[in-house]
């Protein structure tokens, strides 16, 4: 397995080269000139030319590509063009509020969804199953924005149970600020998660080995928790782990509406201000995360199913 992990980690090299190339093409070749936006409404042609020179946009294309590759491998992303802040500091600072909101919400949402899915699988075809299915469809049919607007208005403003917006660093100071967005996050996740988990679990429930287990006289609860859940874990792990990069990149809408200074806002600001170094940094980081997490998924498979061997 160690060899497999090392080999997969080595795959990072060609993938990062590929990602660097795509980023280079997108931002250094295809995208427009960022200097007009960076210099503001009174930019002059001369000043734009000077800034292009200063930002290295007049360098030979090969050198520019090499700069992107270098930042991808060293994680030294330099300074933001728009805010002049150090990008690694910006990312670290933004990651904390994003994680404070999304990690607990994600863990709770996943566990809750699994529990609900097992319960409805147990009572498949009965009233509770139908009720949960209807709720899930209703849940995913309403836009996230509607939940946010209503919950913020009703629970934070009308009832005053939560902070309307803002964020404070440090535990437990951040809790009153992330509690309501976390609840919304959980509610938003329940619909799609329960639907997916229920389908996966029901796929397993009709397998021969379940019938055998029942014939042997095992209780339905034991069958569900010990046999069905374990066999359903592979698609569940894939589904869950693949969502993690998006947690780190921030829940943009929630962060914006609750004024949580997370990575979602940083990325959006960078897009609006042609801040290419920040966009590049976020793109590289999400690619690396994606690769590492897909590796983690593979490793977790071996724990979930002993038949899976990493070679």
């Amino acid at each position: 397995m160690i060899k497999y992990i090392i080999r997969r980690l080595l795959y990072l090299i060609p993938v990062l080269l590929g990602v660097s190339f795509i980023i280079f093409v997108l931002f250094n070749l295809v995208s427009g000139d960022p200097t007009a936006v960076l210099l503001g409404k009174n930019a002059t042609a001369k000043q734009m030319a000077e800034l292009r020179e200063q930002l290295g946009l007049n360098k030979p294309l090969l050198d520019q590509y090499f700069d992107v590759v270098k930042s991808a491998f060293t994680f030294n992303f330099g300074y933001s063009w728009a805010t002049k802040q150090e990008i690694s500091h910006m990312i670290l600072q933004g990651a904390y509020p994003s994680l404070c909101l999304s990690v607990p919400a994600f863990v709770i949402a996943t566990i809750l969804s699994l529990i609900i899915s097992l319960v409805v699988a147990f009572y498949r075809g009965k009233g509770i199953d139908l009720f949960v299915r209807i709720m899930c469809i209703a849940g995913v049919s309403v836009s996230a924005l509607a939940y946010i607007l209503f919950f913020q208005y009703f629970f934070a403003y009308k009832l005053g149970w939560f902070e309307i917006s803002g964020f404070e660093y440090g535990f437990p100071d951040f809790i009153p600020f992330v509690a309501l967005p976390a609840i919304i996050f959980i509610l938003l996740s329940l619909g799609p998660d329960v639907r997916f988990f229920r389908t996966v679990i029901l796929d397993e429930i009709y397998q021969d080995y379940v019938r055998t287990a029942r014939a042997k006289g095992l209780s339905e609860v034991v069958i569900l928790l010990k046999h069905v859940l374990r066999n359903a874990l592979i698609p569940i792990i894939t589904y869950v782990v693949i969502q993690i990069p998006s947690l780190i990149l921030g829940a943009l809408l929630l962060e914006n509406f609750f004024s949580i200074p997370g990575l979602g806002g940083i990325t959006l600001n960078a897009l609006n201000s042609s801040d290419f170094p920040v966009i590049k940094a976020m793109a590289i980081l999400s690619s690396v995360l994606y690769i590492l997490l897909s590796l983690l998924t593979d490793v977790l498979y071996t724990f979930a199913d002993p038949r899976v061997k990493l070679k």
Partner: protein, 584 residues
């Protein structure tokens, strides 16, 4: 059941951690609707960064917080400058005893006195080619020797700040001389803008690239370290000099209670909290929950604020909330790209102006709070007269069709589909759809090109557009700032995105911009404003209105277009706050 338990435990935890509201702190709570991009004055290009910079840094001059029309008053300068007879040499006396904030950048961490060399350094810093400041345009080609110094150091490894510049000299510890290349009537306005606020060289060198996060100014408030969080907290500068609340203002200010603190030493509050809130709903709810003292009302919240008579709704009056509505110094417009051959046709431009239903647009998108623009210069500035009525901004489809036919395109025949570039947000899309419908009525087909802000700016700066829509806000209270949008040498990538070139307009503009404020100059501005109205290089839009809501306990807030230094004058009435907070 378990989910219910989890939700309940979250709520309980939230309750446990919530802070009780207290009324003993003399603090002001404000909102910034945009993230702040740091505290380096030379890059404080947007209104909101300028407002924050103005809490810690100061300039030689500032706008009087109460007097209107806007009036400059000395700030770090002891008095208005002595100007030579040719209007080119300015002698500034610096106020004595002004101290920089305490900072590790200084010896023993104690802020030193502001000197003339700081003024020279700060202006040179604005011109430093290695910093490529956003505010450089303000002094570009203005001071004798400054451009040469900038050009020289664009190729050197290090910028030499010791090098003397003829147009920017320290005469003694408290005197600076600045020499202009040519008359620059807006020069003192430039020295009141955040770009020219004064920084300490020690701080710039000590913090290096992190300087923008460690503001060390001379202002009324101190911010030891700036972090990109959801709240910025400024505390009173304990060493702030003796500066007093003004004792005179505009007529009526006394009745509004704006002179109640006259003669008192400022700042009047101990703390300012600025909450960074981007979205409309949380801004509105926080204000209505009395968590914030002042709210800039925009878009969807206008309807919640005022009734059809443009008066504050009763439910807000009951809470003592005040409504402040004042016209902005701005203009919105649809610009033609005059490099496109079809737009050289004046009658076509005039016809399109006449087909734009401004009254409906104002009702739909501004709740009838905006004013139709008769020219580019907004009311309140010399250059715009009440008497002048632009004949092409009325909604007259018959006249529009007639002019379109005279232009050679009867019923729009022969005209290609015109693409108007705009932003991609919902309101911009709705606005362009409305514009499309207006033009459709005279047979002109419009297509919307939707863009992110960077894309739109790029297209305009590279002349890759037929038409685009934009708004322009004043940098300083002078019509030149608006008329320059149509001055030929300013064409793209400059501020004249319409690429309009009219030799007659240019000649008058050139003459007017070298004249000091005078009735003669105002007459020239008026002429230029009328020329624009009749030649129709844009489809004129509106001068919008600033709408603010202020809590009853917030004192001394007066609408101000250039409010970088206004916050030092604010005050709160804690007794009123305690009483009224129960209503929220």
């Amino acid at each position: 059941m378990k989910s219910l338990m989890l939700v309940l435990s979250c709520m309980l935890l939230a309750f446990a951690c919530s802070k009780e509201k207290t009324f003993d702190e003399r603090e002001v709570n404000l909102i910034s609707p945009e993230k702040i991009s740091g505290f380096d004055p030379i890059n404080a290009s947007d209104r909101y960064s300028g407002n924050e910079t103005g809490k810690v840094y100061e300039g030689l001059f500032e706008f009087h917080p109460l007097k209107r029309p806007y009036e400059l008053m000395p700030n770090l300068a002891e008095a208005l400058p002595v100007v030579s007879a040719d209007g080119l040499t300015y002698l500034f006396k610096i106020r004595k005893g002004v101290l920089f904030h305490d900072s590790p950048a200084f010896k023993d961490g104690v802020g030193r006195e502001l000197k003339a060399s700081d003024i020279v350094y700060s202006i040179k810093r604005l011109a430093d080619p290695k910093l490529n400041a956003k505010g450089w345009w303000l002094l570009d080609d203005r001071l004798v020797g400054l451009n040469e110094w900038r050009t020289k150091h664009s190729t050197t490894d290090k910028t030499n700040y010791e090098e003397e510049i003829e147009g920017l000299r320290k005469i003694d510890e408290y005197t600076v001389q600045m020499k202009l290349k040519k008359p620059y009537p807006q020069f003192l306005y430039a020295l009141a803008m955040p770009y020219t606020f004064i920084v300490a060289r020690e701080a710039v060198e000590h913090f290096g690239k992190e300087f923008l996060n460690y503001p060390v100014g001379t202002g009324a408030f101190v911010l030891p370290k700036f972090e990109q969080t959801s709240m910025i907290t400024y505390v009173r500068n304990p060493k702030f000099r003796d500066k007093f609340y003004p004792s005179e203002g505009e007529e009526g200010d006394d009745k509004l209670g704006l002179l109640a603190d006259a003669g008192k030493k400022i700042p009047l509050v101990d703390k300012i909290n600025v909450h960074i809130v981007v979205e409309s709903q949380p801004k509105w709810l926080s204000f209505m929950k009395a968590k914030d003292d002042l709210l800039e009302v925009k878009d969807v919240n206008i309807q919640q604020t005022i009734n059809s008579k443009k008066e504050l709704k009763d439910e807000h009056k009951e809470k003592g909330i005040r409504l402040i509505m004042k016209p902005m110094l701005d203009v919105t417009y649809y610009a033609f790209n005059h490099e496109e051959p079809i737009f050289k046709n004046r009658k076509l431009r005039q016809a399109m102006n006449l087909a734009f239903d401004r009254a409906t647009y104002n009702r739909l998108f501004h709740e009838n709070t905006a004013f139709e623009a008769h020219g580019p210069v907004p009311p309140g500035l010399g250059g715009q007269t009440k008497e002048f009525k632009n004949p092409y901004i009325k909604y007259d489809l018959e006249q529009a069709k007639k002019l379109l036919a005279e232009a050679g395109f009867p019923g729009g025949k022969g005209l290609p589909t015109i693409v108007v570039q705009t932003r991609s947000d919902t309101i911009s899309r709705q606005q362009i759809e409305f514009f499309e419908k207006c033009m459709e009525k005279i047979g002109i087909n419009i297509d919307a090109g939707t863009n992110t802000w960077p894309e739109l700016v790029n297209k305009v700066s590279k002349k890759q557009h037929q038409m685009y829509t934009m708004a322009w806000g004043a940098d300083y209270p002078d019509a030149e700032n608006f008329l320059g949008l149509l001055y030929c040498p300013n064409q793209s990538p400059g501020s004249n995105g319409a690429n309009y070139c009219n030799p007659e307009f240019d000649a008058i503009y050139k003459q007017a911009t070298t004249m000091q404020e005078s009735p003669e100059r105002t007459t020239l501005y008026e002429k230029l404003n009328e020329m624009v109205a009749l030649d129709a290089p844009w489809i004129l839009g509106f001068h919008r209105t600033d709408i603010y809501l202020a809590q009853a306990w917030l004192k001394n807030f007066k609408h101000m277009e250039f409010n970088h230094s206004q916050f030092q004058y604010l005050n709160v009435d804690l007794e009123v706050k305690k009483q009224l907070s129960k209503k929220f």
